[in-house]
Amino acid sequence: MGDTLPTADAIATLERVSYIYPRSERPALLNLDLSIPRGQILGVIGPTASGKTTLCLALNGIVPQFYGGRFFGRVTVAGLDTVDHPIYELARHVGMVFQDPETQIITASVEMEVAFALENLKLPAPEIRARVKAALEAVHLEDVAKKHPHSLSGGQQQRLAIASALAIRPELVVLDEPTSQLDPRSTEEVFTLVREISRSFGAAVVIASHAAEEMAATVDRLVVLYGGRITADGPADAIYSDLQLLGRAQLRPPDVTAAFFHLAARGLVGTGPLPTRLDDGIRALALLPKAKPFRPEAEPAFEPGALPILSLRGVSHTYWDGTRALDAVSVDIHRGDYTLILGQNGAGKSTLIKHFLNLLAPSSGQVLMDGKPVASYSVNEIAHRIGYVPQNPDRHLFNSTVEAEVSFSLRAADLPAAERARRVDDALEALDLVRHRRMHPFALSKGDRARVVVAAILVMEPEVLIFDEPTTGQDDWGARAILELTKGLHARGKTIVVVTHHLGLMPGYARRALVMGAGRILLDAPIRDAYHADAVLEQTFLKVTQVVALARASENENYALTPAELAASFA
């Protein structure tokens, strides 16, 4: 175990801390003992609902002062008890960065945003001006000081949130899932900044995140939370290379660690500590015999002769503010495809999907479903042909029971009662929701709510299912469960489209990848080719996965996609 006991140079300590939210019986935190030394970067990992956010909020008194509930034990930050001192006083010592870039923005300009906390702390205007300038320079946003924060990219908005936290010159910076909604380039920006904060400002950093690769490369120490308890606490290398421990906590290791686990299983490397960082992995790989060229024949993306069900023909779309979101895009989605649409935030992925769903009309070009303009179909016809699963499931839920929610989509369908009941039962069964059928959808966990939405779509038996960023904010177990569902639906003949900028989980599911950037299709290729097209991925601010990077480092013609394939290429 790491530094669990209070130490003299600790900026924060937790002693026997337990916490239960109001109207909850289950403790969100249970008997936590933790000491955070000054200057340390502490990572917090754990599955969904393990207590990561609650721990972060306890570090500046928001738990329990804002939420109420039952709180036991003692948290001190900079020597101040977080129960006895008001939040605004603790805010002098703790800078917070939250998950959603948009809801963190309070004011209407970048510099005012950074100044907001300083004004609340009653600093004189010249001092505020100097700190705003320094903080914006630290996060490289000095050139956009006068802009509206909403005009920034997601990565820039999170850097702005970090600048706002840094400006108060805190001794502790707490970041709660700061990159879960960001594309890989923006994620890298944020983690780079975290390392700079620690180095330049000497502040301790607590960061909770599912981004295993970036966490392994950044944090000094890791705490694993499970069911509100600390189940492990130690150096990041030791924890990320303990695959059994991670498995028990429903977590995944960095790709590089998984790859070396497979190599070890084949007896190709020793059973000592596995590398957890890419550069360590590449160095270790150089000691192995050269890998063989590896390029299995690509599975066809769709059955030969399959007709396109959805087509865009030279589609461009310009929004009213002049943003050209699609630029002469032509693409076919065939029956039986499992297609991945990749690209940075703002690449045009959502605009493209909205054209398929007839939610947007093209500025020029044609959108076709089964060869006919999609606009010629009724709303009901489109809904029964194309199912759309949004990133935020809560926008889909407006009925009082799960069963009513699932059957709602059939209200306009001309079906006998027995057929309706069969479809509802089948959908509930397929999504493991039978036991919840009488419950209110909002009484379920987020993962369960997402499954209710999928059931409500499945009941219409659409031919095409479009999943928009289905793994965002999910832990490894939740993400895998959703992707396994897509795999099952594909096996049952459905056409699947998944929109994402998280490349790591998709091999083994998708067959074809459309890489989008600046409103264009940069590449339409089998997933194996697309994942190895590093120059194309770079154009849309994506980067190759660690497995691909290892494969390329081992042999030019090594096109492995998964840790198991990489290990096989050395056999």
């Binding site: 209407a108 906390a117 702390l121 001006r129 709303v379 009901n380 839920l397």
Partner: protein
């Protein structure tokens, strides 16, 4: 939808550079004159002038069109009620014994059969519509041209408690979020086969009622998130907080205020002395 544009215009104009307190003075003076004048021609001219000012400072046509579309049913209701039912008051204003019928409701209609739309009542309805439009246009003119922070500082300098001033500013920020949320929920309902255009009014009301569930829940969730963020940024509502950019009345503000005072005084004098702006049926 581009939310910031809905909330704020960035064109640098004489009006947008004025202090928020001066804009509030303009809001009060023009509103008072609009309320005072019952003459539909003058009310129309005043409304067109405010509309011109909105366009001049850069309020988007898209926003103005949206506002007009939303308000159209209310305006029609105003015209109908004034045209049909506003009899006594209009008779008193015009000093006439009878109103001029424009359209008579068939006697066989229940409740309103035999009543007629009067020319004078309709004109008074037009005047009320112009008054309402003037008030509504003054809001984007004064608020959208002001940095939300300057809005807060301006209100605080007018001795409005800081917490209340911040709530006003936060509400303005929150409205576009709510509109965005409603739009997203309606979009997702459409994707489950709900075609509003094919529904009758009662069905539509039911759908709107259902829409309110996720909208309210998501709005409450976002409001709570924003409050948590603000607390984490040391927000306590303390009126003694400092400001990076303080509010300052400059020479153009004083000149504009003097002009406003003179124009308002003149409007009052002409109204009460020669009846300029009174209703003429």
């Amino acid at each position: 939808m581009n939310l910031p544009e809905l909330q704020r215009v960035t064109r640098a104009t004489f009006f947008s550079r004025l202090d928020f307190r001066t804009k509030l003075m303009a809001f009060a003076a023009v509103s008072a004159v609009a309320a005072l004048w019952d003459n539909p021609v003058l009310g129309g001219i005043l409304m067109v002038a405010v509309l011109g000012a909105c366009l001049g400072v850069g309020v988007s046509l898209g926003y103005l069109g949206f506002m007009f579309r939303v308000m159209t049913p209310f305006f029609l209701l105003l015209l109908l009620t004034h045209g049909l039912f506003n009899v006594e008051y209009v008779l008193r204003l015009t000093g006439r014994a009878h109103l001029t019928p424009v359209l008579t409701i068939p006697a066989s209609w229940p409740a309103i059969g035999g009543r007629f739309f009067s020319r004078e009542g309709l004109l008074y309805g037009v005047n009320v519509v112009f008054k309402s439009m003037t008030f509504l246009l003054l809001i984007p003119l004064c608020v959208f041209t002001t940095d939300p922070n300057q809005l807060v500082v301006g209100l605080v300098r007018l001795r409005v408690p800081y917490k209340l001033a911040f709530v006003v500013s936060a509400t303005l920020r929150f409205f576009p979020l709510i509109f965005g949320e409603i739009q997203a929920v309606m979009e997702t309902q459409r994707l489950r086969g709900l075609a509003l255009e094919d529904m009758g009014p009662i069905q539509r009301v039911r759908v709107y009622a259902k829409t309110s569930v996720p909208v309210i829940l998501n709005a409450l969730f976002k409001a709570q998130q924003i409050e948590v963020v603000m607390r984490a940024k040391a927000f306590s509502g303390d009126p003694d907080r400092t400001y990076l950019e303080d509010s300052a009345m400059r020479a153009p503000d004083w000149i504009f205020n003097a002009f406003l005072a003179a124009a308002f005084g003149a409007a009052l004098w002409f109204y009460f002395s020669v009846g300029f702006g009174r209703f003429v049926g």
